[in-house]
């Protein structure tokens, strides 16, 4: 843009009117101007700022330094050249990580001149690493390495989710799509669930601390939740950045109940995802992980009903079988008992028989003995020995002299027959009388 040519009239008014084109014209007229240092620097700065629009500059980081003020100073260079650069604190806050020495970056900013030192420099507004994932990746890897070193990413730390949570906690924006999606899924699947939202700002300055606070609020509240969903809907890497920051990671790791993370879309993996007990690809998926499917539950209950009925039936059948077995056993036992008694009775009878037999035998022997004795006393035996028995006509034995009448007949019975006799006289023997009395 051509400028009005105005010659400098003094060192003080060049501020307003200096123009290099005009100066060149003067030089051509071999009449160079004289300027003070400040004026020169100011003129050069203005020229730079006017002529060079804000732009991206690519190069390598060298001598990156963070000052206590929060400003960053560094040198951007390539093989042949370098330029000093500054990133002021307000812009530096957006840096996910401090770039490393030699890192290839692109810097957006404007060139200017630092009047006091006369240094030409680049005032950076953004610094992005151009390599693999850039500074975000770098910050991510650094935090990941640190958390990993502390064991917070250990798969063994992952807790399993409750099968039937009574209460589900949610940390997300109260106005985001994520909350809507989560509530919709829970309502569809498990409407008996109690849902408690702990609202948080999920992007922008201080978002990480706010998310961490919202997570910790559950524990401080003393309200028992069974599982916690932490997340937000999709967005740029900057939008999701809070979930890559340490406060969120630590709050998740310290949460007393299992945490499901759901940050952005499926492709976005954040530090929060790595620390969480389960990573869901989306907020809707997180809700599906968190609560059981009502229809599955209805099936489960129907199965429980059937199982209960079946078990009771089986119980009854088993009892009857047991009863049958017992009865059979009892029958067998009774039978055996009866058999045994039979045998005992039989044996007893035999014993008795034998005894009776012995007694009879014994009696028989006694009788025989007696018979023998009786036989010995038989009158026939006496007759055989030579005795004779007097009998009257009626066959009665005549024992005493008084039964005999002189002159009367009587009979004498001898061993082989009878003899007719008659009483001649009777004579009582004295001794016989005595024997008789």
């Amino acid at each position: 843009m051509p400028r009005t040519l105005r010659a400098a009239r003094s060192q003080t008014d060049v501020q307003e009117s200096f123009d290099f084109d005009a100066a060149r014209t003067r030089r051509q007229r071999e009449d160079p101007i004289t300027l003070g240092v400040a004026a020169l620097n100011a003129r050069v700065r203005q020229m730079l700022e006017a002529r060079v629009p804000p732009l991206w500059v690519e190069g390598e980081i060298s001598g990156w330094k963070r000052y206590a003020s929060g400003h960053r100073y560094f040198c951007l260079k390539d093989a042949d050249a370098q330029i000093n650069a500054v990133l002021f604190r307000s812009d530096a806050q957006r840096l996910p990580a401090e770039p490393e020495e030699g890192m290839h970056v692109r810097v957006f900013g404007s060139v200017t001149l630092y009047d006091k030192r006369g240094d030409y420099q680049l005032v950076a507004r953004r610094v992005e690493a151009t390599g693999d994932g850039g500074l975000w990746r770098l910050a991510f890897e650094k935090l990941r390495a640190r958390l990993d070193g502390e064991g917070l990413l250990d798969p063994a730390r992952k807790r399993s989710l409750p099968l039937h949570p009574r209460t589900v906690g949610i940390v997300t924006s109260p106005v985001g799509a994520a909350l809507h999606d989560i509530l919709h899924v829970i309502e569809r699947r498990a409407p008996w669930t109690r849902v408690i939202l702990s609202p948080a700002r999920v992007q922008g300055d201080g978002a990480a601390l706010d998310v961490a606070r919202a997570i910790e609020l559950f524990e401080r509240s003393g309200i028992a939740i069974d599982v916690l969903i932490v997340g937000r809907g999709g967005g740029s890497i900057e939008d999701l950045w809070a979930f890559n920051e340490e406060p969120v990671a630590r709050a998740i790791a310290a949460c007393p109940v299992p945490v499901i993370s759901a940050v952005g879309h499926e492709v976005d993996v954040t530090i929060a995802d790595l620390v969480a007990d389960l990573r869901a690809p989306t907020p809707s998926a997180a809700a599906e992980y968190a609560v059981p499917d009502g229809s599955a539950l209805r099936d489960e209950l129907a199965a429980a009903r059937m199982r209960l009925a079946r078990t009771l039936r089986r119980f009854a059948v088993r009892r009857r079988e047991q009863l049958d077995v017992s009865r059979e056993r009892l029958d067998r036992r009774m039978h055996r008992l009866v058999e045994k008694r039979h045998e005992e009775i039989h044996m007893a009878r035999e014993r008795l028989d034998r005894r009776v037999h012995r007694i009879i035998e014994k009696r028989r022997a006694v009788i025989a003995q007696l018979a023998a004795r009786i036989d010995a006393l038989s009158p026939l035996q006496s007759l055989a020995r030579g005795y004779a028995v007097p009998l009257d006509d009626h066959g009665r034995i005549l024992r005493r002299t008084a039964e005999f009448t002189v002159g009367d007949p009587f009979h004498l019975r001898v061993a082989d027959g009878t003899i007719a006799a008659r009483t001649e006289r009777t004579e009582r023997a004295q001794r016989t009388e005595e024997e008789q009395s």
Binding site: I186, W192, L197, G294, A304, R319
Partner: protein, 81 residues
């Protein structure tokens, strides 16, 4: 054998389903007494009845956690608010 855990009416759904599974397992035991079996069966049916009505008729309760000068509390949250 397990004993009933708490009030049949107030048990959370998860515990209820767990209890139902225990009851079925107990009913399968060889040494269970008839009286116990009947009691378990009745308890199981009660759990089933409550759980089934819960699954059928429930409405989502949504609350918001708040912290202010009064401390931490929850208030009802209407979705879309």
């Amino acid at each position: 054998m397990s004993t009933p855990e708490g009030n049949v009416e107030e048990m959370p759904l998860g515990a209820r389903i767990h209890r139902l599974q225990r009851i079925a397992a107990d009913l399968d035991r060889e040494d269970i007494e008839l009286e116990d079996a009947m009691r378990l069966f009745e308890e199981g049916v009660a759990h089933l009845r409550v759980a089934e009505s819960l699954v059928k008729d429930a409405e989502l309760r949504i609350e918001r956690l708040l912290e202010d000068s009064d401390g931490i509390r929850t208030e009802k949250l209407t979705p879309g608010e």
